[in-house]
Symmetry: C2
Subunit: 312 residues, 2 copies
């Protein structure tokens, strides 16, 4: 039932430097961001989303996007990506030397309007001035659909609307669409229902899943996602990205939690867990608070016990 549906390999798409750090009240200094991203690029991760080229008035925490993009070491085998909302953002991304970017919209009108001040139709229309110019310069384009599993303003979201958006985006030459559970309300049965509908129209390789662990269900949701054939999972080291309104509340699915679960089930990710936890420790020190990853705490606890027993 489960074991025979597991893929041999899953690609982890690390979003901590962007989806994590954009939610921190404290801005991490540019040099520290660059060190953090360089450290992530040495863990075996093949994809790291490093920043967002949005207007600094919207997300001041990532106002140093061009400097970060220019400052990070390029590694063969590691693709860096960044969010790009419009033509101006694309120019900055090119200036930063990006070879991959991501565009974004919401599956619910109200969230989309509040997020980018456009209707969904206007947002899709505006993608035209980003996608083809990017591709003409050899830049690959990914897309995020937010609020796929629920909207903070509208509540439930029709999976058929999601499927329509995914088909539209892939038709516009986006190479992959990541389905986002922006507010962390997805449950495993719902993941199955939504993916069944979306996968009726598009191949699983063109999808990624992006869960927030607000209610602790992100790993269970990922399990269903990979059983349904999706093999790209977005995650953030340490579980960076908690909501500023709820101190201690969980943010993104923690990269080490999903890598540890996949490792244990014999699904390869190519990522070194020890090195990942070192990245989480480094960024926890920089943001100045504990991170929610459970694997991280178990790992550090085990290391502390071993040290007590003189074994480490």
């Amino acid at each position: 039932m489960i074991v025979e549906r597991l893929p041999g390999r899953v690609t982890i798409y690390e979003v901590g430097p962007r989806d994590g750090l954009q939610n921190e009240s404290r801005m991490v200094p540019t040099a520290d961001k660059i060190s953090f991203i360089n450290q992530l690029a040495r863990t075996g991760l093949s994809h790291v989303e490093i920043t967002s080229f949005v207007n600094p008035r919207w997300i001041p925490q990532l106002a140093d996007a061009v400097d970060v993009a220019r400052g990070v070491e390029r590694h063969p085998g590691v693709t860096f990506s960044a969010l790009v909302p419009n033509r101006k953002g694309l120019e900055s991304a090119v200036e930063g030397g990006m070879k991959e970017i991501a565009i974004f919209l919401s599956a619910s009108e109200t969230h989309n309007k509040k997020n980018v001040n456009k209707t969904i139709a206007e947002t899709i229309s505006a993608f035209e001035e980003v996608i083809e110019p990017a591709r003409a310069q050899g830049i690959r384009v990914r897309a995020y659909v937010s609020t796929v599993f629920g909207c903070p303003y509208e509540g439930p979201v029709d999976p058929r609307r999601v499927a329509g958006l995914v088909t539209t985006l892939l038709g516009m030459n986006v190479f992959q669409v990541s389905l986002g559970d922006t507010i962390g309300v997805a449950n495993p049965a719902q993941v199955e229902r939504v993916l069944e509908i979306v996968l009726a129209d598009v191949p699983a390789k063109d999808l990624a899943i992006h869960f927030h662990d607000t209610r602790g269900t992100a790993l269970a949701n990922c399990l269903v996602g990979i059983m349904m054939g999706v093999t790209t999972i977005d995650a953030a080291v340490g579980g960076l990205g908690g909501c500023p309104y709820a101190p201690g509340a969980s943010g993104n699915l923690a990269t080490e939690d999903v890598v540890a679960m996949l490792d244990a089930m014999g699904v390869e990710t190519g990522v070194d867990l020890d090195k990942l936890v070192e990245c989480s420790q480094a960024i926890a020190a920089l943001v100045g608070h504990d991170l929610p990853s459970k694997y991280m705490k178990a790992h550090l606890g085990a290391r502390a016990r071993a040290a007590c027993q003189g074994k480490s």
Copy 2:
């Protein structure tokens, strides 16, 4: 695949007052334990494990077992249970007015020896002086098998050994065997493999699953467990029961996390989530530290936001 395998109803077996509080460095005062258990009994939970009648030298935190058992209010529809290691413990449980008890052993010899200072065979033999005397007094007996998914001393555990122990225990007139992931190392694929082997010999209704959330996989493991037909899940409010060696590390699966996931999937538990979170808040104040439940944090964060907006 998933939806059609979900049961209509799952029974939650709350173990916080025992498996949670036995791991706290601070002993919760007897009167506060009693209030906490009384509060749990008003949430809609049908089963609450309230204490352990072990030698107070082993677990001083639960030295007040008889007073707790005598002090809690009995409710129709709520069964209280308690751990009983031996004949002496049974006498105390009877003194405390218990109508259900639980015996326990490990699936791995080293853990069993360290836990109860007996071999597994000796432990089973000693059960004879507890099970039948208890049943003769109208007391139902449950059993725990610990280290089912991994032993901290021996590592992997053979599922056939687990299946053998389950069959033996059920043959001794235990009404249910709870399979414990004592150190929180189980993964979903392993849960499927172990349950396939155990369920070849015994019906699913005679089993419960008991996961610790040390690595964040407890909900994913529960999802597999219920898909395999098991309909009793052990959990502790707030995720009480973290390891004293790893500050902040996760303990038992948090009751509100599993109830919230089941609710969202349309699986009934009969438990009121708001009331559960109130119990978690109460016990967090008594133990003097944050609890790891993610649902609890999301719920309290949402309430705080609503209050800010004058909506609550």
